[in-house]
Amino acid sequence: MVLEILVAVTVVSLIGTVLAALLTICEHFIADYGPCQISINDESDVTVKGGKDLLSMLTAERIFIPSACGGRGTCGLCKLKVLEGAGPLLPTEEPYLEKEERESNVRLACQVKVRGDLKIEIPQELLAVREYTCKCVEITDLTHDIKQFRLELIEPTTIDYIPGQYVQLLTPVYEKSDEEIYRAYSISSNPAEKSVIELIIRLVPGGICTTYCFEYLKVGDEVKINGPYGDFRLLDSDAPIVFIAGGSGMAPIKCMLHHMKNTDNKRKTIYYFGANEPRELLLTDLMREFEKQLANFRFVPVVCEPEDSNVLGCEIGLVTHAVQRDLKNATECEAYLCGSPGMIDATIKVLEELGVSEDKIFYDKF
């Protein structure tokens, strides 16, 4: 009886093992797309093992395409031209592509599966993007929900970027997130400090990356970033500058101000920074320092709640109202905005009413 049971168990186990082996072999041959060649800009080729999505294949080849959702097809950032081999456009890509983009073969790299040879076009500036291993060396509370993170570059040891650009910060797997994910943050540091990156981050309740940064990231921890990305930057002109920002929108403007100081820029500049109440203003002392160091710079903090605002020399009301009241010679100005979509949209409307032409308004929406 016992022998019969043992034989039966052995036979069942053997059948299971054989089936599992067959499945593995089938998967290996049927789903094996073999080596696929990706031709980039008609200049270089990389050979990869087919089967995965284009975004992760390029990342593995150290070619970094911006993506804020970790390749789930939800941010629409990883756009590039796939001229040959991509297959039909997927329903998951459609909501993110304009008509002109579809016509010129723009695709979401995270949704394109590499199943054969591909011919793609990547903007030259993205080919300069690198991954950096850094050490978090300082975390500073700027307001109750905004912190500044100072990251020292370990490998490579230096970075070049244009003030206004951003990097992507990798959030590792941690207690509240099951997978690695990238989020984009503007660089706020002094560009003269090439071995350091500073980021100003506002806590988003329930946000995967900001929760990690605020509750888990500690001084001494290693983090990975890649970049730089983005075309938000100061134009090379003599026009007066209007900066308008709120919250963590301070980051790229601060970086631009460091650059203006480093280059002894004498352009007439006014910076409206909006907050709900005085405790939400940040880096006011540094801005006052810039007022002393830059030849033609004025900082105008604007708060909605008037309590204590006189002490800080604030304008009262919404930042858009302050701009309406205070901005002179608007038609000559170039405007640079960074903040929430609502704030940017309202500010653009006000600037246009004041006579700033559309082609002189540049913005970086959150």
Binding site: A68, K176, S177, D178, G206, G247, E305, S340, G342
Partner: protein, 157 residues
């Protein structure tokens, strides 16, 4: 007498949804918090509570949308959004994705409402409004963005 519970069979889609809601794929900590009930149990219990309070999920979601629309005009500052009520909207970069299998992509926007007299406040994301309106889902107990129907109605109506 012991009542025998009826175990409903879950479809593969239900199981996948349950898995997504309990994971941190779309939001830190997920949507279910420490709630051990199934998603359908959470939805049913909140629907019962809502009905007892004399409201429908559509009425509640519509009121939430109205408040958000008014609060947006404050550009991140407090504005009056109703009698004795202030609200503000904070926005962050990116999108929130509905965990249900359909096209649901919402702005990463959080509305906070405060009753001036009592100081009581409640917050919701645009995704909360969508989840209530389309799926009757107020999230599991202990989730960061769980909304208690009773508190919500007390605050916004």
């Amino acid at each position: 007498m012991t009542q025998v519970g009826i175990v409903m069979k879950e479809s593969p889609e239900d199981r996948k949804l349950e898995e997504v809601l309990r994971s941190s794929r779309l939001a830190a900590g997920g949507f279910m918090g420490h709630d051990n009930r199934s998603v359908s149990e959470v939805i049913d219990a909140d629907a019962t509570e809502l009905s007892r309070l004399g409201f429908t999920k559509e009425q509640v979601a519509e009121r939430m949308r109205q408040i958000t629309k008014v609060a947006i005009s404050g550009l991140g500052t407090w504005v009056q959004v109703g009698d004795g009520m202030e609200g503000k909207v904070d926005e962050a970069k990116g999108w929130l994705i509905c965990p249900w299998p359909h096209k649901g992509k919402l702005a990463k926007r959080i509305t906070v409402v405060k009753v001036i007299e009592t100081g009581e406040s409640i917050r919701w994301s645009d995704l909360n409004t969508h989840l209530i309106s389309e799926h009757g889902f107020f999230e599991g107990k202990g989730s960061d963005f769980r909304i208690e129907p009773r508190k919500l109605i007390r605050t916004i109506f």
